[in-house]
C-alpha cells in the first residue's frame, strides 16, 4: 500500500476557526493553464495626482478638501455601505423572509501622503503610525459598536478602485458572519482545552516550522494548515492579546517590522505589488467589552488571489462556491516558497 504524501495525494484539511474543510489537490498544479490572464498590477503610479480624491489637498466627491496630511489621514467614506441612522425593517416576519436593522459607520484611512508607496516600501516608523491609528479607531468606534472591521483591499484585482495606499474601517451594530463563526469556534475550543485556540496553534507552528514564513520576538506569520487561498497567511502575536489596541509599544514596532517583511516576500514572489485582501480580527467590542473574551486571540488574515504568476489567479468558482474550497498546492509548499525568497524588496534591489 502506497504511503500518504500530501503533495501527491488529495485530502481534506480542517479549518478550526471556520469549522469547515478544504480540499487539497496539489497534483493539480501540473495542469496547463489556458484560462483568463489578468492585467498585471499597475507599477507606475504618480506620487501625486491632482485628480485622485485620496491625495493631500485634493477635493473629494462631496466637495470636502483633504488636509495637507503628512502621515495617516482618516475620513468618512463618501459612499458608505453602513450609515449611522437607518430605520428598522418591519419586525413582523415569516421565518424565510427575515431582515434586521444594520447601522454603522465606514471610514477610509490613507497610510501615507504619497500614492507611489505601499506598506513594505514605507519606513518602519511610518508603518507604526498606521498601527497606532488602527488601535485608536478600534478604541474609538469599539466604545459603542460590537464589531470594528479593519480591512485593506490591495490592487485592482481585489476590487480596489484607488491606487493610493489605504485601508477601510467599517464598524457595525451587529457581529458579522465571519467573526461570529470565529467567536463560536474559539469559545468552544477554549471550553474544551482550557487554552485559546490560536495561542495553542501559534506555539505548535513555531515548533513545527514547516509553515512559518517570517517570525520575530512577538509575532509569527504562517501559511495556515487549512489555508484556502494559494499564498494565504495568518499573522499572530505569540502572547495572548485580545485586541490591536492592547498591543504595547514594542509589540507595535515589532509588528511594523514583521508586516514589512511579510509583504516584501509577497511582492518578491512574482516581482509585482502583490494584490490581496487583509483584515484584523480581535475580540468583539461595544457591549462585549464587559464580557469574558479569554477565548479570543488577535490575528490578521491575508487572502491573496494569485496562484501561478503575476497574471494567473486562483478562481474560487463552481466547485468552491457550490461544494467546497479547493487548493492546488500544499500550504507547506507555499510557505517554503515564500520563506526562501529574498528579504530585500525587489524595487530596492533595482536601484
Amino acid at each position: 500500500k502506497e504511503d500518504f504524501d500530501p503533495k501527491d495525494h488529495q485530502h481534506l484539511r480542517y479549518n478550526p476557526l471556520r469549522d469547515s474543510w478544504v480540499l487539497v489537490s496539489a497534483h493539480r498544479m501540473k495542469r496547463p493553464w489556458a484560462g483568463q490572464i489578468e492585467k498585471p498590477p499597475e507599477e507606475h503610479i504618480p506620487r501625486f495626482d491632482p485628480h485622485n480624491p485620496l491625495c493631500p489637498g485634493n477635493t473629494r466627491a462631496n466637495g470636502e478638501v483633504n488636509p495637507d496630511y503628512d502621515s495617516t489621514f482618516v475620513f468618512q467614506n463618501d459612499f458608505p455601505a453602513l450609515q449611522p441612522n437607518a430605520p428598522d425593517p418591519d419586525p413582523d416576519q415569516h421565518p424565510l423572509f427575515q431582515s434586521k436593522a444594520a447601522r454603522g459607520i465606514c471610514k477610509v484611512m490613507c497610510f501615507h501622503p504619497w500614492s507611489d508607496v505601499t506598506l513594505p516600501l514605507m519606513k518602519k516608523e511610518e508603518v507604526v503610525k498606521v498601527i497606532d491609528k488602527w488601535a485608536e479607531l478600534v478604541e474609538e468606534l469599539g466604545a459603542t459598536y460590537p464589531w470594528v472591521q479593519i480591512f485593506e483591499n490591495k490592487g485592482a484585482m481585489m476590487g480596489c478602485s484607488n491606487p493610493h495606499p489605504h485601508c477601510q474601517v467599517w464598524a457595525s451594530n451587529f457581529l458579522p458572519n465571519e467573526p461570529a463563526l470565529s467567536d463560536r469556534s474559539q469559545r468552544s475550543y477554549y471550553q474544551k482545552h482550557g487554552e485559546p485556540l490560536l495561542l495553542q496553534y501559534a506555539k505548535q507552528e513555531a515548533e513545527k516550522k514547516e509553515r512559518v514564513v517570517v517570525e520575530s520576538s512577538y509575532w509569527l506569520a504562517v501559511v495556515p494548515y487549512w489555508a484556502t487561498w494559494p499564498y494565504q497567511t495568518l499573522l499572530l502575536p505569540r502572547r495572548h492579546v485580545l485586541r490591536i489596541s492592547d498591543l504595547a509599544k514594542e509589540e507595535r514596532e515589532d509588528l511594523a517590522d514583521i508586516m514589512k517583511r511579510l509583504l516584501t516576500k509577497y511582492d518578491n514572489l512574482f516581482e509585482v505589488s502583490f494584490p490581496y485582501s487583509m483584515g484584523w480580527h480581535g475580540a468583539p467590542t461595544g457591549p462585549h467589552l464587559n464580557q469574558d473574551n479569554s477565548h479570543w486571540q488577535l490575528h490578521a488574515h491575508y487572502y491573496p488571489p494569485l496562484l501561478r504568476s503575476a497574471t494567473v489567479k486562483k478562481f474560487m468558482v463552481g466547485y468552491e462556491m457550490l461544494a467546497q474550497e479547493q487548493r492546488d498546492l500544499t500550504p507547506e509548499q507555499a510557505a517554503e516558497k515564500l520563506r526562501n525568497l529574498p528579504q530585500e524588496h525587489y524595487k530596492n534591489r533595482e536601484n
Copy 2:
C-alpha cells in the same frame, strides 16, 4: 420617524439555507466606479477549433481522441482534483491539524458538438439531452458516492478555461461544506415546520411575485430574498423533488424551457454571453439513499459576477471575505430588471 425602504436603507437579510446574513446597501449603486474593468466575454468563437481538446474528433492532453459526438459527450477530467484511489492520511492527529481522506471522480461533460453555442442558444430538445445526461450521471455516480456535484463555470471571468459549452461533475466520498450546511438547515426547518424549506419558499415566492424572474407549470426562478451576488437566482421545482434523476419527462422538458428563458434574460441584460457559476443541489446519495431525505428539495443556484455592465463585476473582497457579504442593489430591483427584459435572445434578434 422615517419609513423603512429597502432601496434606501441598508439592512441585513437572513439566508436560511446557509444560516448566515447578507448586508443589503442599495444606496451604494450611486457611487461612481473607477476600479477594474474586465475584458468583455469573448463573442466570436469558431464553431470548430482543431486545437480545442473539447471538440469532436480532437486529441486531448492524455492522447485520447474524442469521438465524433453529435449530442452530449462525457469523459474523465484529464487533471482531476479528485481521484478514486488515494491513501489515507495518518489518523493520529492533533485537533488543530486534522486531515481526512478524499476520494472521488471528476468528469467533464460537453453540452453540444459546436463551440459557438450556449444553453440559451441550443434547441430545447438539445437541452433536454443535457438534463437527461445529468440525471444519468447522478444515478451512476450516486450509486456509491455520497455527493455528486454538477456545476458549470461559464466565461473566462469565472475561471473557465475553455469556451466550448460544457460543465463538470465531481463526485466525492464526503459531503462537502456547502451541501452539509444546506442539509442541516433544511433538516431543522423540516423538523420545526413539517414542510420542506424550499417547497414552502417556492410557494411564498410564487404568490408574492416580486422576486420571480421566470416561471412555468413545473418550475420557478427567483432572485432569492437573501441573494448575495447581484443577479443571483435560484431555480426550483414547484413539487417536492429530491434529486434531478427523479424528474419526470414533462418536468425535464419544462426545465429545458425555463433554463433557456432564464439564461436568455441573463444574456440580454448586458447583451453579452453572461458569465456565471451554477450548480445543482439535491438530496445526498450513496449511503444516504436508504435514509429519509424528505427535508430536501432539488434546486439549482446561479451565481453571476456582473454588477453594472458587461465589464464591471461585483468584488466579494475585504469586507465580504473578512466580515460579511454585501450587495449593492436589492434582490427585488435585480428581479424586476431581469423580468422586464425581452424573451428573445439578442443574438437571434440581430439576424
